[in-house]
């Protein structure tokens, strides 16, 4: 089994961190994993995205053209990646920052107002984790518990106080994805 | 019978002069009248007097002194053109208890190696630099150096250095002394015995500065190049006095705190 995930958003939305936490969870679960970021000038205020490949066997290419799953955290990401998701794949969209619904009918489409949900949970910066939870529920890439454990094990010291909120965001996203299929 | 006046002979031989142990017995390749030989001897005498021969590592330049490592009886590395201060930095950083010095000419230090010497001074790198300024490129056969004087004829400035197109010569001692990391920067000359004695004292201080860990130390030595200047050796020494001294005043350009106590 192999799944390729692209997480894309504005710089500062936590796209790279969401990918890293998936990578930690995959590693801690004994899976093969690669995490590769966009890097360079676009990091300064532009779009940021990363590709995460999780597999049972040795991973060849850490990059793919047609990912099995995408989290589009904003409108430009939706426009860029909707055409690229592999047929039958998963497209998770942040409905808070997009002006249209995803259109492709050959995908599992999950639109979640992640910023609004995160604000309800008390911190808008948890939107990336809400979307990650949705991705987990929609793809089955990893158990939610594995990502919770990864957060507990690898969340930087300065963010440890947010561990509970992160868990909540993850579970809330997963629950919404299970209920909401756009 | 007359008695021959007796001449009082020495009771035993007294050595009043010897080649410094820090110099090998190799015959140098320097031209007749060149002051590199004097500069080498002064450095070697200082190394002997400070008893640091076995802990000293020299870095040779590209230029006439490229074979300095054949003449000094200390460990030596040969640097790329202008890079001696960087190479010496590498040596000194991993062996901070050794004495590391570079021996560089004006093309090497003031032209192609300007960045390396400036930043070594800027970092206050604990090195000793012996800088030979003879206002010309020697090894490549007498081309214009950054220190060539206005109007001075060289093979690449055949009508004399034109300051309209080539600017004025760089004054390295003044330039380097302006850097806060520089502990000891002086200019001396090798054109007569009095100045040679002063030069030796300065070289000694420059090594003492390194021993004391005070930072970057450089002695600029005004030197002659009879061959490439195209004049006789004695005239070359006079030329230093008449032409170089006015543009390159001798003196102490930087004496950081603690240097005078050495």
């Amino acid at each position: 089994m192999q799944i390729e995930i692209i997480i894309s958003g504005f710089g500062g939305q936590g796209a790279l961190f969401a990918g890293q936490i998936l990578a930690y969870a995959a590693m801690d679960s004994g899976r093969h994993v690669t995490w590769i970021p966009s890097y360079g000038p676009e990091m300064r205020g532009g779009t940021a995205h990363c590709t995460v490949v999780i597999a049972d066997d040795e991973i060849g290419s850490p990059l793919v053209r047609y990912p099995a799953a995408v989290i589009a955290m904003n409108q430009p990401s939706l426009d860029k990646y909707e055409p690229l998701v592999a047929s039958g794949g998963v497209l998770v969209v942040n409905a808070s920052l997009t002006t249209r619904r995803p259109e492709r009918s050959d995908l599992r489409r999950v639109a979640i107002p992640a910023n609004a949900v995160a604000e309800e949970l008390g911190n808008v910066r948890l939107a990336n984790i809400v979307l990650t939870g949705a991705l987990l529920a929609a793809t089955g890439a990893l158990p939610v518990e594995a990502v919770e454990q990864a957060l507990a094990a690898h969340l930087p010291e300065r963010h440890r106080h947010l561990l509970g909120a992160n868990s909540q965001a993850l579970r809330r996203g997963a629950a919404l994805a299970a209920a909401v299929t756009a | 019978m007359t008695t021959m006046p007796s001449i009082a002979g020495p009771v035993q031989d007294e050595i009043v002069y010897a080649r410094p142990a820090a110099l090998t017995e190799t015959v140098t390749h320097y031209c007749p009248g060149c002051t590199h030989g004097i500069a080498h001897k002064l450095v070697a005498e200082v190394i002997d007097e400070l008893e640091i021969r076995a802990q000293t590592i020299g870095v040779a330049p590209v230029g006439c002194a490229v074979f300095a490592y054949n003449y000094f009886n200390v460990d030596f590395a040969e640097a790329a053109h202008g890079r001696a201060p960087a190479m010496a930095t590498g040596l000194k950083r991993v062996l901070p208890d050794r004495i590391v010095f570079t021996y560089q000419g004006d093309g090497d230090l003031a032209s192609i190696g300007l960045a390396e010497i400036m930043h070594a001074a800027g970092r206050g790198e604990n090195l000793t630099v012996v800088f030979i300024n003879n206002a010309i490129y020697g090894m490549t056969g007498g081309q214009m150096a950054p220190t060539t004087l206005p109007g001075q004829k060289t093979s690449s400035s055949p009508c004399g250095r034109d300051v309209e197109t080539m600017g004025m010569p760089l004054r390295m001692a003044e330039l380097l002394a302006a850097q806060p990391g520089a502990a000891y920067v002086v200019r001396r000359s090798l054109h007569n015995p009095k100045e040679i004695n002063r030069a030796k004292k300065a070289i000694r201080t420059a090594f003492r500065v390194q021993q004391a860990g005070l930072g970057f130390a450089l002695v600029e030595l005004l030197s002659s190049c009879p061959t490439n200047w195209g004049i006789a050796p004695l005239d070359a020494l006079k030329w230093i006095e008449s032409h170089m001294l006015p543009y390159y005043p001798l003196g102490d350009y930087k004496l950081a705190e603690g240097v005078e106590r050495l």
Partner: protein, 370 residues
């Protein structure tokens, strides 16, 4: 030891520390800067030398100086910075002192960009500096290989008294992947008999690259060539995937080779007998192994992130026994598996109509098949 999720650049830095790195000199340049930043924190903690040089020119010459003491030293940079280091690398080769260089390649020529590329193959593998010199060149494709080959680079540099290069592209430098680090080795090493440490109780030593008499320089060059021949005989390393029964061999190093492996896997699923050869050593190049593969393979496809550099060495090794096709992306573009798969399919179709080892190949030797 458990695996850790490590970024390529930082993994190399820590692997170097554990291999006994005593001094690092470097200059910031994207996309290798994390390596320098990591060592800026790590080396002082261990009372080892870290120094940010004023330029790549100075950095490599600081490395040259420190290497003269016989201690383990390293610098790292990216393509434009490596160009600046070529002078120093030639001097180090000519002086036979050991050191490690890490080149995290980016798009060029000129200032180019900071995206991943493999355009430094010629300047690193062929020795971009002056004179007949070589550097050992190790090309990791995974973070684990980056760790392992960094340790090997130090060992080979010491063994052969020369520059060892770890050559990777920017994407591997930035990539995170689980990898296991080796234990911290004791950096204390016996003083080599050539090291400059001060002539205490022994004759003075000189490290130089000058041999003014041409005949002497020729003798020195013969010694270097003999050393390089010994390295070619003993140090070739490569990774292969499904080559045993392969009709088509895809060759790529680093990230390009890794991407190609996915394409090879996909091609196998389509029933194509394809294999991957991924050199881990670019010097010494696995020329004998490629010659052996050419005995049975009907065609080769070389994939690189440049305009076609390693392909020249593949062609020399294959020596006309089979057509060698090239597919490259340039300017910082990483080829993706679907592109490589398409190339494999086209090649399979073409050689499918060609008798094995036909003396007259209908396949053009270069570029895309019309």
């Amino acid at each position: 030891m458990a695996k850790k999720l490590l970024k390529g650049n930082e993994a190399i830095a820590e692997a170097a520390v554990r291999a006994g790195l005593q001094a690092y000199f470097g200059y910031p340049i994207t996309p290798q800067t994390e390596l320098l930043e990591y060592l800026a924190r790590r080396m002082p903690d261990l009372q080892r030398t870290f120094l940010q040089a004023e330029s790549e020119v100075a950095a490599i010459n600081m490395v040259y100086g420190a290497a003269c003491t016989g201690q383990r030293v390293m610098t790292s940079s990216s393509s434009p910075g490596i160009s600046l280091m070529m002078e120093g690398l030639s001097y180090i080769a000519g002086s036979e002192v050991p050191c490690v260089l890490v080149d995290v390649m980016r798009g060029g020529p000129g200032l180019g960009n900071i995206a991943p590329a493999q355009g430094d193959y010629h300047q690193i593998v062929k020795g971009g500096g002056h004179g007949d010199f070589r550097m050992i060149v190790l090309a990791p494709a995974t973070v684990q290989e980056a760790v392992d080959l960094t340790g090997l680079a130090f060992d080979l540099a010491d063994k052969y008294l020369m520059v060892s290069v770890v050559l990777l592209d920017g994407s591997l430098g930035q990539m995170m992947e689980p990898a296991e680090l080796p234990p911290l080795r004791d950096p204390a090493r016996p003083e080599p008999e050539w090291a400059l440490t001060g002539a205490r109780g022994r004759a003075k030593r000189v490290v130089t690259s000058i041999h003014l008499v041409p005949e002497d320089e020729e003798v020195f060059n013969q010694k270097l060539q003999a050393k390089y021949a010994a390295i070619k005989a003993a140090e070739v390393r490569y990774h292969e995937y499904q080559t045993d029964d392969a009709d088509l061999i895809v060759v790529g190093f680093g990230t390009a080779g890794r991407v190609a492996q996915t394409a090879v896997k996909q091609a196998r699923a389509l029933g194509l007998k394809v294999g991957l050869h991924r050199p881990l050593t670019l010097f010494p190049f696995p020329e004998q192994r490629l010659a052996d593969l050419a005995q049975r393979a009907r065609a080769f496809l070389v994939v690189e992130m440049n305009a076609g550099q390693m392909v020249e060495d593949v062609r020399l090794a294959v020596n006309g026994r089979a057509p060698v096709k090239f597919y490259g992306r340039m300017g910082g573009v990483v080829p993706l598996p679907d592109e490589v798969l398409e190339q494999i399919k086209q090649l399979a179709e073409t050689v499918g109509h060609t008798p094995h080892h036909s003396p007259v190949s209908c396949l053009p030797l270069d570029g895309a098949i019309a």
